[in-house]
């Protein structure tokens, strides 16, 4: 194909043909069929579309796919593999093991409608990579004050998210 971009998505090399200015979100969803990240505001104001780019959270709704070229993109679908690699889990165990953040989201029964939660889990993974033992105040700060915008949940699951981040932090240390 004439104009293609190569990126690494959840550990696999992908060549995509979308125009270079196309937001990464639409490439992931429509071309690569990765539907974990979802469209919220389309202008980096809510966090529903968040993915990790080389370990840093970005809003895929405003990130051109060309910017992701050559970088590692991680969506929630790729979180278990990250954990398996980090912990050297074997095939069988790896296949059955979720990322501790995902497991905590299940154990703490976080999602209500769940629309924003993919982005919330991405933000949690990023936070715990930088701060393995965040306090409640630090969790609130990370989900509210980190640019470009707060991570918004309209169902109001913030208390459950705080519980889940703390549970995941414990589990990741254990």
């Amino acid at each position: 194909m004439a104009n293609t971009i190569t990126l690494s998505v959840n550990g696999a090399t992908q060549t995509v043909s979308s125009a270079p200015e196309t937001p990464l979100l639409f490439v992931l969803r429509n071309e690569l069929k990765l539907t974990g990240p979802r469209l919220g505001c389309g202008m980096a104001q809510c966090g529903a579309c968040s993915v990790l780019l080389d370990g840093e959270e970005v809003r895929s709704c405003v990130t051109p796919v060309s910017y992701a070229a050559g970088k590692k993109v991680t969506t929630i679908e790729g979180l278990p593999a990250i954990w398996a690699t980090e912990k050297n889990l074997s095939g069988d165990v790896a296949a059955k093991t979720l990322h501790p953040v995902q497991q905590a989201w299940i154990d703490e029964q976080v999602p209500q409608c769940g629309y924003c939660q993919s982005g919330m889990m991405i933000a949690a993974v990023e936070l715990l990579a930088k701060n393995p033992s965040p306090t409640v105040a630090q969790i609130k700060d990370a989900f509210t004050n980190k640019p470009p915008s707060p991570h918004l949940c309209r169902c109001g699951t913030y208390a459950a998210i705080i519980d889940a981040v703390q549970r995941a932090a414990k589990s990741m240390k254990g």
Binding site: G40, C41, C46, Q112, C113, P150, C153, G156
Partner: protein, 775 residues
């Protein structure tokens, strides 16, 4: 888990067993599933409906002893799918994990009904399970050769006389021809509908009769924190959301909306085919859209077309700063609804030692989900229509789509999938992108996916209308209240029309202005009361877009009316110099209310004293603190909320530092999910109390992104304490919805406690509070 069944005596239903050989579908065996030709489908039914009077339409037992349950209601995010599974599992004495649910699809579920009406929805499936249980026990009694009374069931296996047989074995190869009694009907267009939304039958079908159900003291599943079933798939990315539907040949659409709420189309802007080679512009009436096989092209082409599309001018809104004035200016006639005795209340007020009057105001707010409206529609050449939706009222939506396209409802199938929360806006089967999608699919002959933008959703979806509520109380010498008069005035709040339909000039339902009294009166010791609810048309109703289409939103009507009632009670308590909790206790004999209020007060560490507190201050840079309380009764549930705030008078900044919320909703079905719903409801209530207001100028809504329509962020969440009272003898009550409504009155009362200044309006923004404290 072993449960001794209590069955004895005669069956309430007639069970006929007919041997019809194996009925196999999808590799599973069914009691009576594939509805054989000519057997179950009555003349009034079609291939796009299931007969609700057939048990098999609701429930199947599969060969592996798992169970499939179908209901037209949906999961709105509060955990109904868990509660339904628990109720069915309880009655059938199986593990809830063995139950899967089909929700909301009009062609694969029998009942329809409100998704928000979880109590009636759960009662339906509970009765279905109870009827099934009864029939299975009769079968087992015959098979095992023992009386029904000596049978017991554990985990879907019936045991008696030393022998056991599973439910699956019982129905293997047999057709359980079981009719159950139902009442009601399917949603339909009905101009005389009671809510004024132009639709009837939104309750759907109700399973009637009184099948023998399990006594509460034998419950093993209800009352446990069974995990809500859909959550693991949502967390791992396996859920198929409405936005994930893709069909061969599907086009992506972006809408081009009018320049103002009342504009009509002059000319459609040009599309540069060189720049957007595969895009196409479509229009019908005032409905304009751009479609493309490529979503990014559709987005850019729509922006480009919008820039040169011409609309007429219009300026028919009062502006959000003039809402109260506009409501006051309306020529009000008789109330839409009235309760109580006007003469007795007038006499009490006339003879009272003192009266208290106050007017409370609530602004326009909106549902504002994180994911804007979206729908996928396929209008086929044979005239059949499939719509993929996240509406909370599939059958109501089906009736509206059929009406808009002028085709019989039998031609329309609505398929439901998870998506962003609705918070009430689709409860009446309207609002949303579905009409846009079917109209565009009809115009193109292809499946079309319509994704609204956030700006579009915050500007064009329906809104929860403003309220102005006049309250008056008669106070006795003792300080107690002898009468309360409430009169609430509000624009229309049940406009369930689909925007695309009337923008395109196609048939849409006809809503009628009106409103209702939502309060469930908690103060039985107040002798006389008169409640009046007055409704007027939506602001800007004459516009082609129908202006600010008012719609219901979480805890509708009662959220607003309770703000006024509890505000008045707090003012009366302060006036009487009585502790506000004691003041409430003085005005009720309802033990459930008394218990939840006392338990919540205890959890909050409440120390009785009147408000405002002795250190209350309305000036200065140092923070002052306060606490406030409110209660509410709704849907067989009793609520209490206690807010603690810190206020900086000089800046008007109100920080809620702690919120204690208590609920007695009868028998608690799922304590953990109730905890989750109570805490998240507090978050939504705080958002409304502190931040939310739809703003508009004379032409259009202006609060069209998240920096203009502000909602609560995580940093603003206080510590939340939850109190639950579960009762075995009071049935089930609604616990998922109402927590939001007990927040604003408690926060306003806490602000008064801290500053000594009454706030009769929300949101308590710094600008408003500063002005209030200076006044």
């Amino acid at each position: 888990m072993t449960v001794q069944t209590e069955t004895s005596g005669e069956s309430l239903i007639t069970t006929t067993i007919t041997r019809r050989g194996f009925v196999k579908m999808g590799g599973a065996l069914f009691v009576s599933l594939t509805i054989p030709p000519g057997f179950t489908l009555g003349a009034a039914e079609s291939q796009t409906s299931l007969d609700p009077s057939l048990l098999a339409s609701w429930l199947e037992i599969r060969g592996d002893n798992t169970i499939l349950v179908r209901t037209g209601r949906t999961e709105t995010g509060t955990g109904m799918s868990g509660y339904y599974a628990q109720a069915v599992a309880e009655e059938l004495s199986v593990r809830p994990e063995t139950i899967t649910l089909i929700l909301g699809d009009t062609d694969r579920t029998p009942d329809g009904g409100y998704s928000a009406g979880f109590l009636s929805g759960m009662e339906n499936v509970r009765k279905v399970a109870a009827y099934t249980h009864q029939a299975l026990l009769e079968l087992a009694a015959k098979q095992l050769g023992v009386p029904v009374a000596s049978l017991s069931v554990a985990d879907g296996v019936v045991t008696g006389g030393g022998k056991s047989i599973s439910y699956a074995q019982l129905v293997l190869g047999q057709q359980l021809d079981l009719k159950i009694p139902v009442s009601g009907g399917r949603a339909k267009i009905d101009p005389a509908s009671p809510f004024g939304n132009g639709l009837g039958g939104l309750d759907g079908f109700t399973v009637t009769g009184e099948p023998r159900t399990k006594p509460v003291n034998q419950y093993k599943v209800i009352g446990t924190s069974y995990p809500v079933p859909g959550i693991p798939d949502k967390v791992t990315g396996k859920t198929q959301w409405t936005c994930d539907v893709t069909l061969p040949g599907m086009l992506h659409a972006r809408m081009v909306r009018p320049a103002t709420m009342g504009s009509t189309l002059i000319s459609v802007g040009a599309l540069d085919k060189k720049q957007f080679p595969t895009a196409e512009v479509l229009s019908k009436g005032n409905l304009v859209a751009v479609v493309s096989p490529n979503e990014w092209e559709a987005i850019n082409a729509a922006r480009s077309v919008a820039a040169t599309t011409k609309w007429t001018a219009w300026a028919g809104l009062p502006g959000s700063e003039n809402v109260t004035k506009a409501i006051r200016a309306y020529k009000w006639g008789a109330p839409s609804e009235s309760q109580g005795k006007a003469a007795d209340v007038a006499a009490s007020l006339a003879s009272a030692s003192k009266t208290i009057s106050a007017t409370y105001e609530l602004p326009y707010v909106r549902h504002a989900p994180i994911g804007p409206f979206l729908a996928v529609a396929d209008v086929r050449s044979d005239g059949s229509v499939i719509v993929w939706t996240h509406s909370a009222q599939s059958q109501g939506l089906r009736a509206q789509i059929a009406n808009t396209l002028s085709i019989p409802a039998e031609k329309v199938v609505v398929r439901w999938l998870d998506h962003s929360g609705q918070y009430g806006r689709t409860t009446f089967g309207g609002d949303g992108a579905e009409a846009d999608a079917v109209i565009l699919s009809q115009l193109t002959g292809k499946p079309v996916r319509v994704q609204w933008t956030l700006q579009e959703d915050l500007a064009w979806s329906s809104v929860s209308p403003a309220y102005v509520i006049d309250m008056k109380a008669a106070v006795e010498v003792s300080g107690r209240l002898s009468a309360v008069h409430s009169a609430s005035y509000t624009p229309h709040q049940s406009d369930a029309r689909l925007l695309g339909a009337f923008l395109a000039g196609m048939p849409a339902v006809t809503p009628k202005p009106g409103t209702w009294i939502a309060t469930e009166w908690p103060y039985d010791k107040i002798q006389n009361r008169l409640e009046e609810a007055y409704g007027m048309p939506s602001l800007g109703a004459d516009a082609t877009s129908a202006g600010l289409r008012g719609n219901i939103m979480r805890t509708p009507g009662q959220r607003q009316q309770n703000f006024a009632l509890e505000g008045l009670i707090n003012e009366a308590a302060a006036s009487a110099r009585v502790d506000p909790i004691q003041f409430r206790l003085n005005h009720t004999t309802d033990q459930r209310l008394i218990d939840i209020l006392n338990a919540t007060a205890k959890a909050a560490g409440w120390e009785p004293r009147p408000s405002p507190h002795s250190g209350a201050r309305k000036t200065g840079h140092n923070p002052v603190t306060g606490r406030g309380v409110c209660i509410m009764v709704r849907s067989n549930a009793y609520w209490a909320g206690i807010a603690e705030v810190s206020v900086v008078p000089s800046t008007g900044a109100v920080q809620v530092t702690k919120f204690t919320i208590g609920a007695d909703c009868g028998k608690v079905i799922n304590p953990r999910q109730l905890d989750r719903c109570m805490k998240s409801g507090v978050a939504m209530g705080l958002s409304e109390a502190l931040k939310e207001e739809v703003t508009f100028d004379k032409e259009k809504v202006t609060s069209t992104n998240w920096s203009r329509y502000k909602i609560l962020t995580m940093a603003e969440l206080p510590k939340i304490k939850v109190v639950q009272i579960s009762r075995d003898d009071k049935g089930f009550g609604g616990g998922s919805e109402a927590a939001n409504a007990v927040v604003p009155p408690a926060v306003a009362a806490a602000l008064f406690d801290a500053t000594g200044v009454q706030s009769r309006r929300i949101p308590l923004t710094p600008a408003y509070v500063t002005a209030l404290l200076k006044a």
